[in-house]
Each structure stands twice: as structure tokens, then as C-alpha cells.
Symmetry: C2
């Protein structure tokens, strides 16, 4: 697996799993009916943001991550990030590799911390992954997320210094 900067040419490979994940409404605070054009604008970031794809030896896109300032002005030293792994490639360490990459990128860019604004508490794999990468739950919005099957569940804010 290799992680490289994403280009506009990668979008057709990202959109199918991006769309599936967003439409499922279980993990992302994006509108479930988000269209392809808007999705592309939200995901493929210009500097100071950065978007990457994880690819295998055949250049198949296994997942993607975006990194960006989470706040502006006097809090612009806090980075944020989002991650999506193609469902057919979950459990292969793609999320972990993207997470490690994002932390490295943020350190290199001079950020002092990374904050995830909205990690759904029922997304236990993600919560466990971020914990294993040094993130802590610093707060939970009670009933912050409306899960399509489980109803209102907590929304964690996770954070780690760099």
C-alpha cells in the first residue's frame, strides 16, 4: 500500500465509496444526499488542506483522507482530518496507515494538535483506531448524531497533541 496526494483524476475512484459511506448516514456528518460535485469540493482540498489516497500495487484506490486546519486565527495550530476506507478493503490497515500519514503531515506542517469534531460513538472501530493512535475522547455531545438504526447516539470529540 502506498499513500500519495490525490488528484482530480482520482475522484471517479473515490466517489463510489465516498457516496456509499455518506449515504449510509452512519458515520459522517455530511448530508446523506450530498451530490457528487459538492462531495468533490468538500473532499479534494486545496492548500492549506491536503487530500491523499491509499493505493495498492495496481493503483486501486483503497481509501482516502483529507487534512485541513480545524480552526482559524488564534486556534489555527489545530488540524482536523477525515478518513474513508472503501468498504471492500476494510480490515486491511488502510485506515491506520492513513491516520499515521495524517499525523505526520500535520506535524510537518507545524500544527500542534489534531482534533476530530465528530466521531460517532457507535463507530467503535474508528474510536478504537484513533485511541490506538494516541487520541483521547475529550468530550461527547450527548445524542449528537442521529443514527439511521440506533437513533440518537453520542458524538465524540477526539484530540491529540502532536
Amino acid at each position: 500500500m502506498r499513500i500519495r496526494a490525490a488528484t482530480a483524476d482520482d475522484w471517479p475512484a473515490i466517489w463510489p465509496f465516498f457516496h456509499r459511506i455518506v449515504a449510509a448516514g452512519e458515520t459522517y456528518t455530511y448530508p446523506r444526499d450530498l451530490g457528487e460535485e459538492e462531495g468533490r469540493e468538500w473532499w479534494l482540498l486545496e492548500p492549506p488542506g491536503h487530500t491523499v489516497v491509499a493505493v495498492d500495487d495496481e493503483e486501486t484506490v483503497l481509501g482516502s483522507a483529507k487534512m485541513n486546519p480545524n480552526h482559524l486565527g488564534p486556534a489555527s495550530h489545530i488540524a482536523g482530518a477525515g478518513f474513508m476506507v472503501a468498504p471492500g478493503h476494510s480490515g486491511q490497515g488502510v485506515g491506520r496507515a492513513l491516520g499515521e500519514y495524517a499525523l505526520e503531515w500535520a506535524r510537518r506542517e507545524g500544527y500542534r494538535a489534531m482534533q476530530f469534531n465528530a466521531v460517532v460513538e457507535t463507530n467503535t472501530r474508528a474510536v478504537a483506531l484513533w485511541r490506538s493512535l494516541g487520541f483521547e475522547i475529550i468530550g461527547t455531545l450527548p445524542e449528537g448524531f442521529r443514527h439511521p438504526e440506533k437513533g440518537y447516539v453520542g458524538l465524540h470529540i477526539m484530540y491529540r497533541r502532536l
Copy 2:
């Protein structure tokens, strides 16, 4: 004091204190050099956002507040808000009146909770005001805000159900 919807005509009265507050860099996570045009776009919101001014009997603008969805999609039931009181009119209950208005507005619009993403811990008046209006600190980003005099200080996330 009366609170009414803000219009583009109010901006010339808002900008001087908006600019002063943002440029001071002590309470807002906006770029300290934010320009007037961008400031107007960030503050005077279109629906589903809402911006108001608090005015006295002579229609002098004492302060302003903006309200908006804090998250999208499955978390769009959480509102956010921002408040600015003209420094010459602080201590007169303007912030409290705007806060109460924002809570009422959010209830009326069907939100289930309100979240403030970034309340600087040294802004003790604001922290005390929001506590008195039922908000809790649900988490603090350690060293999340670079205060121009106090250095890195905590950034609270505050929350209340509606």
C-alpha cells in the same frame, strides 16, 4: 433594548466592534486581520442561518449574534452561535439577552441542542454567562487557543440541550 433581524444596512454599525474584537485576537477563532468584506459574509448569514442585532431606543447597535446549524446531515439538529457585544456597551446584559434569544430561536427552529465550538477559557465572563444559561463545558482543547498575552490557553466546547 430590542433584538431584531440584522440587515445589510446594519453592517456599518457592526463592523467597528466586530473588527475590534477580531483584531484583538483574545476571544474569536477568526483571522485577526479578517477584512470587512469577508467579515460581513461570515457574520450576516442567509437561512438556515440567522443574524440579529440588539439595539437601544435610538436604534444604536449594542451587539450582534449569529445562529446557524453547527453540523450537517445526521448531526444537523445541533445549532451553533456567535456573539459580539460592542465594548462600550458591555456589562449591560446585552450578551445575556442575545444568548437567550439564540436559545429561543434554536428551539423554535427545531434544533435539539446548541454547541459552542470554541470558548476561550480566559474569556471568563463568557464562560460564566453561558454556564448561567445552562451550558456545560463538555470538553477543553488543551492549549487550543493562542492568546496574544497569555500564550496558549484552553479552548472550551460548551453544550446544552434545548
